[in-house]
Subunit: 715 residues, 2 copies
């Protein structure tokens, strides 16, 4: 890629970004798009609008929202959103610091050295026509003394990143503890999930649990709720819910024609009946079924139960100490928040869950490794000759250079992006099959899966771009890896710079800020739905698809820091944009769905360590290729030191993210002893983990009240 | 190696075994050798002699001891020895079962198939001159259908071994729980070790501990003893002890000449003084020093303490739940038995211990990988030409075929064995530097180190027998490993058969049963020491050098099962001998030094799994070499299944070996509540973990009482 091409690409994308920015600034102020751009504010109604002093009248694009997103301090931001959101924003702050340092070193020191190198022997003195490779390490002469500058830069940069990692880990873990201290008593702090309950014949699961815990935890045991197999019930209640919505919608219908329906096949034949009566009867039958199923479900016990204790310490003891002599029985696990429980997970035994975990690992590996095969095949179908064969009328258009360039240049990457869009749901599915008990766990596990997937299928697949088999072969030849990477990775620098601009900047603005797909959905839906037929759903941020993306840019920045420092300014811009945009969206779009106390951070830390080690491996290879074998060998201690540093951090900080220490638990418990509301809380606690499908059906107070849910169940 | 050579070797070793057996049977009955052959009985004095009805008069070699070692049931054996001894003997029972099955399949089915193969095209029809390779898989024709029998044997054998492993793991873990239930209350069950105590300036370590545990464990905390830096004190007390012994010895001296000494340089110049007075004064000064040091040591606190609780559950809670917000502070660890504590370990902080662990890993890897280099060099010095150059007078002797054969054949292996003899102490040293807090931990860690060392330096070094560098290179080429192993391992079958016979049979009888080195020591010492000048020390079994040996034979049997089944009968004999001999020695020679509740078993299990996977890898290679690539690919799932089985066992059984479940702890605690002796025990408990060097010096009741220790300290 030449400089001119890069500038063009940057120009186009800058234009697009400005367009989205302007459109957002205008649309955001239109009341009809508030559902899309500020659902949190809408859900919180006027109060918040007044508090924040929003003004929806202006039609001019303004950047006032940038200021409002920028202004709140971290504590204000946390109280307005959640601790997890703060941790998410810390990724950007961390990246800004890393790339700030890297940018200065890279642009001021390394870039001139690279540019003044003569290895590539570029004839063109015209800057615009120079290859981007003249700005990369490839341009430095083999064996040149200047490479020692790169060598020092790698060492210093690794040190700085490790220091920043340590600082950030320590900062977030202290914040996590502080957040815990300031939190109110919540059901999940007092509850554990017990699986693999050894139910003896002749007694129910509930009796077994009751007996075990009253015997061994006489002073702290409070209550338990046994999990039941409610798949069928959930189906029934969700049907009933749909039917009720339809009924409510019909009642608001003014056209009498639409209020009658034929009672025969598909509503086409038979007598005309009043629709309201028809659906009303149907709903009644369904409600009866739900009640019957609720009664019968009481017997369908799964050998798992949520057990609540009177103190956090009691729950922690049950969580950490093996209960029975058989470690596969009475398996304890931290309970998620009640609204976070993923109910359909419970029907499997220890061995079944273990096997399904293994199968998920295999399936995940297969999806990750073989993902590119269908993509490459579909991409192959779109080459020009085949298109001309299939659609002869296109021939004249395809012969235009611009069109053919767009098709050969953009179509394959568009197809790749389309395929990638399907991946997060697949990862979520895999993680939920794995046996995770809560949405937060599923997202956390899917996040790690997505990250590895992205690194493999975007970084390695693009960098190595050989056949799939060839790439797999490398792992059987570890000696060759640094050389192969050093050969392939710098060559892709210009591709990844373009990737940062397109996939980073533009998609950040279009999908995260402008919310293109929710906007389109909302525009399509509007004519078909009533004024406020559906309740407004405030979305939650899908961490599993956002975090891997941000971390992937981190990986690009770290690995290309000394190879092609030109990428760093673009990444800095990305981080700044991301910081403002995500702060804005977290404040007014996404509502926190659960609170996992920043447990995403260890993933961020590990990903950065991986990036560092990858950079070191590439450095070993590249100094070898550049005939500087001394530098190549002197880099070897660096990955080892980095991994040791990681190991130390694991010991120093990871336990804090796994669980709260006894000191905190006891202090919180003692606070509770003086809290007058604790008795009420205990009462709530004993029913907090009832399956929502088992709740009694609530009848609406008024049939015209559209917004009040008829069925609490399944909501 | 030809059959005849094997038979010769077996014959010679059988002769040696018989010799040792006879000598043992006779010497064991001589009262003067009782210290060597039955120290436990001697230590327990006449009672046991009468109880067991020993008869020392007979001079004829008899095998009565075999019967006595065989007779006791497992429970009787356990009550006479320890649970760890039972677990050690279970290794032999397990091996007997495995090799029993393997032997039947190998000798009845595989051996005839191998022998009837024609690959090696042996001309000699004389059985005695046949190469041993005709009995190995190498003799089966490439691509022969008969290889499928081997294939099936590998699958069936793996299944049987896994079943036996599961059975044994489950048996031993249930025994372990039962052993715990039947045990009395012991200090280490109620105590934990706390390290990394964050001592704030202005308060002592003891105060900090007291404050922390009374605050957070108000109901269960009992007492603590802070660890102090006592290296100097230990040196002083051990000096005092030696001096006392000398004094005691001198007092029993009848020759008045020896009772005086000159008080000048080296006892050669100056006035003649009475030795008794001289040493008496010296001892007094030393005792004063000890007392002063004891006082000063009180200030030398190490930020570590043994904290005792009133219940086992209290200790378990403190052990399993992270205490403070900083995971590197208040680090808790299971306390070893008081007599098992390795006192000099305590002076290091968290980070120092971590670094020393890393250094030990590096040192261990270096020792293991580079061990063969000095051995090979020393072996190279002993070749005939060099010997003749250095010692010309040997020329005539060295020209004899027998002598040269012995030198070239036996000397290198003798040198290897000599070098290997130095390894267990090195491993013990490495493990103690690592920061283990007890002798049992040191031995356990050294045991694993020894095992890996043995497998690498005896199995791989012999099998691959290339240059060191060449062998190291393999690991960078994982694809090649099965092929290289398949090529090299079967070729060494005859070497390992000879190894089983020499290093297995003969060294078992000579070193374990006949106790050659203690016998020689005792014979040398006897004329120099007084009648009973030294106290009799009952040795404990050094598990770290015995277990790896036994497990190594297990590895040989499993890997050679389908390659050269001829090894199996020899291994069966080894296991039978080992079973009887170790039972005998554990009953009358070795006293249990500590009780770790059979925690050696997971090592045995893992080692067997490793052997199985190694066998599978070799099978993959060998079926590939034999042009049966289908069988080669069909073996691939087998190591994966084996590793999954291992993973399941880890989940199912390993937690039981790591700690006792809450159920057991609470049951035992409740038993104690009704125990009238518990108050006395609590009193003892609070002083159980005092450093023995800090105990007050006890004065002897009578100066003529040689056996009563003057100094309790340091004993």
């Amino acid at each position: 890629m030449i400089v001119w091409a890069l500038l063009t690409s940057v120009g186009i994308n800058l234009g697009l970004c400005l367009l989205f920015f302007t459109l957002y600034s205008i649309l955001k102020k239109q009341p009809s798009y508030l559902d899309v751009y500020a659902p949190r504010l809408v859900a919180a109604k006027e109060e918040s609008e007044q508090r924040n002093g929003f003004n929806f009248e202006r039609l001019l694009p303004t950047a006032g929202w940038v200021k409002r997103a920028w202004q709140p301090s971290e504590d204000e931001f946390m109280s307005a959103t959640s601790f997890d959101a703060v941790v998410f924003i810390r990724i950007f702050i961390f990246s800004l610091r890393v790339f700030g340092f890297a940018g200065i070193v890279g642009v001021v020191i390394l870039l001139p050295i690279n540019y003044l190198g003569t290895q590539l022997d570029a004839d063109s003195s015209d800057l615009a026509n120079k290859s981007l490779d003249s700005f990369s390490i490839s341009n430095v002469k083999d064996g040149s003394k200047w490479l020692w500058v790169h060598f020092c830069a790698v060492y210093i940069f690794s040190g700085v990143v490790c220091y920043l990692l340590y600082y950030e880990y320590s900062y977030i873990s202290s914040k996590r503890i502080a957040h815990y201290y300031s939190s109110k008593h919540q059901p999940h702090q007092f509850t554990i999930l017990v699986r693999g309950i050894p139910v003896s014949s002749g007694s129910s699961c509930s009796e077994t649990v009751e007996k075990f815990f009253t015997e061994y935890y006489p002073s702290t045991y409070l209550s338990h709720s046994v999990v039941r197999r409610t798949n069928k019930l959930q189906r029934l209640t969700s049907d009933a819910k749909k039917l009720y919505r339809r009924l409510a919608h019909l009642k608001s219908e003014t056209n009498p024609q639409r209020r009658s329906i034929r009672d025969g096949f598909c509503g086409l034949f038979g007598h005309k009946v009043n629709v309201l009566d028809h659906y009303g009867k149907k709903l009644e039958t369904l409600e009866d079924n739900v009640r019957m199923e609720q009664l019968s479900v009481a017997g369908k016990e799964v050998p798992a139960a949520f057990v609540s204790f009177k103190s956090r310490l009691g729950a922690a003891i049950a969580l950490h100490i093996q209960q029975g002599t058989n470690p596969t029985e009475w398996v304890t696990e931290r309970a998620p928040e009640p609204q976070d429980v993923h109910w359909p997970f419970f029907s499997s035994s220890f061995i079944k869950r273990w096997i399904s975990k293994l199968l998920v690992v295999v399936a995940y590996a297969a999806v990750t490794i073989l993902f590119l095969i269908p993509v490459v095949i579909v991409q192959g179908l779109t080459n020009l000759e085949q298109l001309e064969t299939y659609f002869p009328f296109l021939e004249s258009i395809l012969s235009l250079t611009v069109v053919s360039e767009v098709i050969t240049g953009y179509l394959p990457s568009l197809i790749l992006q389309m395929f990638i869009a399907f991946v997060p749901p697949i990862m979520i599915m895999l993680s939920s099959v794995e046996g995770c008990i809560s949405f937060s766990q599923i997202e956390k596990s899917a996040c790690i899966k997505m990250l590895c997937f992205t690194i493999w299928n975007i970084f390695f697949a693009n960098a190595l771009s050989g056949t799939v088999l060839y790439r797999f072969d490398i792992f059987l030849d570890p000696k060759e890896i640094p050389g192969i990477l050093a050969d392939a990775v710098p060559a892709q620098a210009s591709f990844f710079i373009a990737y940062v601009v397109t996939s980073g900047w533009t998609s950040l603005l279009s999908s995260v800020l402008f919310r293109l797909s929710p906007l389109i959905c909302s525009i399509i839906k509007k004519p078909f739905s009533g004024k406020d037929g559906d309740e407004l759903k405030v979305p939650s941020i899908p961490y599993h698809s956002h975090i891997p993306k941000v971390l992937f840019f981190g990986l690009l920045g770290i690995t290309y820091f000394f190879l092609a420092p030109l990428i760093l300014p673009f990444l800095l811009v990305y981080c700044c944009l991301g910081y403002i945009i995500y702060r804005n969206q977290l404040l007014i779009v996404y509502a926190p769905k659960y609170d996992i106390g920043g447990r995403f951070w260890p993933t961020v830390h590990n990903s950065t360590i991986f990036s560092l080690v990858l950079m070191h491996i590439i450095a070993i290879g590249i100094f070898g290729l550049k005939n500087l074998s001394l530098a190549s060998s002197l880099i070897v201690p660096l990955p080892i030191l980095t991994l040791l540093f990681n190991e130390y951090c694991r010991k120093r900080f990871l336990p804090i993210f796994e669980d709260y220490p006894l000191e905190c638990l006891i202090k919180k418990d003692r606070q509770d002893q003086n809290d007058p509301t604790i008795a009420v809380f205990y009462n709530k606690l004993s029913t907090a983990y009832e399956d929502p499908a088992l709740m009694p059906i609530r009848h609406p107070r008024s049939t015209d009240d559209h917004n009040s849910p008829l069925l609490q169940a399944g909501v």
